[in-house]
Symmetry: C2
Subunit: 315 residues, 2 copies
Amino acid sequence: MPAGRTILASTIAKPFQEEVSKAVKQLKFVPKLVGFLANEDPAGKMYANWTSKTCESLGFTYELIEVNKNELETSLIKANKDDSINGIMVYFPVFGDKQDQYLQQLISPEKDVEGLNFLYYHNLYHNVRFLDPPANQQKSIIPCTSLAMVKILEYLGIYNTILPYGNRLYGKKVLIVNRSEVVGRPLAALLANDGAIVYSVDINNIQQFTRGDDLSEQRHKVLELSETETLEKLAPQCDVIITGVPSESYKFPTNLVTHGTTVINFSSNKNFNDDIKERAGLYVPSIGKVTIAILLRNLLRLIHNKQIRQGEEAN
Amino acid sequence: MPAGRTILASTIAKPFQEEVSKAVKQLKFVPKLVGFLANEDPAGKMYANWTSKTCESLGFTYELIEVNKNELETSLIKANKDDSINGIMVYFPVFGDKQDQYLQQLISPEKDVEGLNFLYYHNLYHNVRFLDPPANQQKSIIPCTSLAMVKILEYLGIYNTILPYGNRLYGKKVLIVNRSEVVGRPLAALLANDGAIVYSVDINNIQQFTRGDDLSEQRHKVLELSETETLEKLAPQCDVIITGVPSESYKFPTNLVTHGTTVINFSSNKNFNDDIKERAGLYVPSIGKVTIAILLRNLLRLIHNKQIRQGEEAN
């Protein structure tokens, strides 16, 4: 019997599903999310089916649009202009190269439920939390996997609510194995902006994201660590270890995890062997269900922000 | 502006004062606490006045009995037998030697609000939480300063409520500077029994209290650390630093406190310089008000336990 506890994403997702489902009922219309699938990837289709089911069970309309990859650009521009569509997402990869980033940026920020627009990343990196300072009525959208991770860390008690808002990870050390532009790097910045010391690991090196030991900086700075600061040295010091390695064969070495550490995997592959349960204080083996609940929460935020803007225009 | 937060004992004590005050109103009588003062120590008298005020504001009766130290033994025996008295405490030191321990053990466990009886220490050290297994209706009394510390750590979010009860400090490292029999050693055992790795520091050495890395032990074991495991090495690794050094001149070195650490002083002397506020994530400069609220909570528990026993006898 392990001393710690395994927490399933479904458990963590539940209050957000309830929040979202309740908020939808308050609206005078049924919000519509459109997903574009422009590849033959069966994983994309599976994910689309899953999004569809979640949407419908929580009171949203979902439409899957399958298009040829060369038609995706035109379809996105059309969807941006279509007032019946509130949220847009694309199942990447499409071309699998820089063109995908162009397509991603093409989605209007007003309909970007995943929070992948440059505007939102910029705000995240700069610790800017509102779209309309100084009124601060419209919250910026946070990329949904990163925000899901924050919500998971809050649920697990890693965010200490007795500390001032914005400093609630003060004193916590977090290791993130993944530095992709979509999740790993923005997540490292987000957690550092909340007060953590974050070690961001990729195949080349380890970077440290921090607001300074005493949080004297308004936002994080990045420092490339010397080669003596190895994974073997840093991992055992961490309160939280997060992995997101998209590989069937990769396993984080269990022996580098100090007993009682919080361990979270956001890869769709299993990045830990089962013996992690003997060491982790809290272990979250996957996060998909939280991410999708947060995606719908983002959709409601986009609708809220639009209503605020329209209210302002009407005044 | 420090990134962390200073938390006053009065803030933490408040919910316990409210709980105690509400519970007293449910009783069919006004509980009576008696304090024995048998020395000329002005600090003892001050503490007695303070106990008196708290008791009366929360709905208890308090009586201070001043006796000659040679009459204390007889007075305690009399108080043990007096049904109008529900709780007894003595303002130590009286003789200032082993005789004080004899007098302490003389207080009936049924009236021992401070939880200093050997029975209660034994239960604490052996992680035995009830007086009447297997019925488990009567909770054991926990020495009030140690219990106050647990309640403070719960308030500060150090106990992680998502972990199983009894393991909620799993993954936490705690340094305690004080290994007295009254507070430091039982506190170290208590926190280790709840899953922490505790470094217990006194003038001679550093001991480690732990239930094993994976909490495989039911109760803590104590290990004397080698001389290479210095305060300088261990303190910066700790999530929590607790001091209780009864000296005006002693100051814990601020530079050994990692930024974001939780810092608590239970000595009536200030064991930290003011610059600790620049480093501590959470700083509790004193705990007296929590301790006294917990003492009254213990008194109610003694009354509850007695009612359970009388109910059983009546059956």
